[in-house]
Every structure is written in C-alpha cells, then in structure tokens.
C-alpha cells in the first residue's frame, strides 16, 4: 500500500497542525502513515502538551496564538486533540524518537497513554521512508 512518512521536529502549534492534517489526509486517501515525533515535536506528546506549542510566526508573547485560535474556532477548525484521535483511529502510526527521550529525560509514561506505537531511531525512519511515496520533514 502507498505510504506517507512524516518527521515532526517542530513543537510549534501551527506545525503540529500541519503534520496531523497531512497525516490524516494521507490516511483518508487510502495511504498508510507514520509520524516520527522528535526533538520539540516529541514534547507535544507529553500529557496535556499537544496544543501548548507557540506559533512559529507572530506569536507575540501569546497574543498572536490567541488570535489565531479564535479565528480557527470561528471557522470550525478541529482541535489538535481531535486530529490526533482521528489519526490514531484511522490507523496512523506514532513513533517516538528514543534519542530525544534520552536527551530530554522523558519516559514512555510521560506521554499521553495509548498514543505512541513504538520508539525508534534513524534506522527505523530510513527503513520506512525508503518504502514511502511521500516523506516530509516538519
């Protein structure tokens, strides 16, 4: 089956959106999908942290993010929590970078339960990426 493999390196609010929208889009269009959460992206998997990232641009001490969130709510854009839940429900795979876990001193139990499918490193990514039709670094 066709496959998409995405690396989420950024923990920025808007970039987590990009990764989850693309992942869900791939699954919805009949592909398999894996998202590798690494560095700042991995921090977003910690309990209660999914939507806690700053905006990559115009964050303005939180004012920009507040404005964007308000606009998104008005336009009925789904929350990150819903997008992650849908991603999992459609069979999307979540991989946590174990080197980041080492560096940042986080353990599996720090993450939201039931989200991480496996821990992996560069070899896991390359293996999956070489058999993928789409691969993205966010």
């Amino acid at each position: 089956m066709a496959k998409a493999t995405i690396i989420l390196h950024s923990g920025d609010y808007d970039k987590v959106y990009s990764a989850l929208i693309l992942g869900n889009g791939a699954l919805a269009m009949g592909m398999d999908c894996s998202i590798y959460f690494t560095f700042w992206g991995l921090q977003r998997l910690k309990k209660g942290q999914l939507s806690k990232g700053r905006l990559s641009n115009m964050h303005m001490l939180g004012l920009g993010k507040w404005m964007i969130k308000r606009r998104m709510k008005a336009k009925n854009v789904a929350s990150l929590e819903r997008l992650l839940k849908d991603y999992k429900e459609l069979g999307g795979k979540v991989i946590a970078c174990d080197m980041t876990m080492d560096i940042m001193g986080c353990k599996l139990e720090d993450f939201e339960p039931g989200i991480v499918d496996e821990c992996g490193a560069v070899g896991t990514y390359i293996k999956e990426a070489r058999e993928s039709d789409i691969t993205l670094f966010i």
């Binding site: 929208i21 869900n24 889009g25 919805a28 269009m29 009949g30 336009k75 789904a78």
Partner: protein, 78 residues
C-alpha cells in the same frame, strides 16, 4: 438468501472544515460493508473535489457529485 434493505451510511459534514470531511468519509468507508453506499453532505469547498479523489484512489465507485445552494452531496459505493 433473503434480500435485506440497505439504507447505507450518511455522513453530515456541513460547516466542518479541512480535513474533517475527508476523515469522516474515510471512517464511514471503513465502517461500510462491500457494496454499501455512503452519502456525504458538506459545505467545505475543496472537499467536494477531494472526497471523490480519495474514493478513486481507493478504487471505489463515485455514484454522484452534486451541489444545491452551497451544500454538496457525494455518493460513494464501497
């Protein structure tokens, strides 16, 4: 074999934004039995062309794409 009346599955995505119509359509396709018809209604403009694209990518038959007063309707056969 007794023929059973098939009412199909309806997905109402009106006022939902990207990528929810695609996601909900995919969930309905997963839930449908082979041959069953999925009807999706919605208002998000790009989804009107992307849901048929998704169906075709999964080799499913698109039976109808229509629009009335900004509300589109797509029928897909699993």
């Amino acid at each position: 074999m007794t023929p059973t009346k098939d009412i199909g599955i309806t997905v109402d995505c009106r006022s939902e934004n990207c990528p929810i119509p695609l996601i909900e359509t995919r969930k309905a396709i997963n839930a449908a039995k082979p041959g069953q018809v999925i009807t999706v209604i919605g208002t998000h403009p790009s989804s009107k062309k992307e849901i048929p694209m998704a169906a075709e990518a999964m080799r499913l038959k698109v039976l109808e794409v229509s629009e009335t007063d900004g509300v589109w309707k797509i029928r897909i056969q699993r």
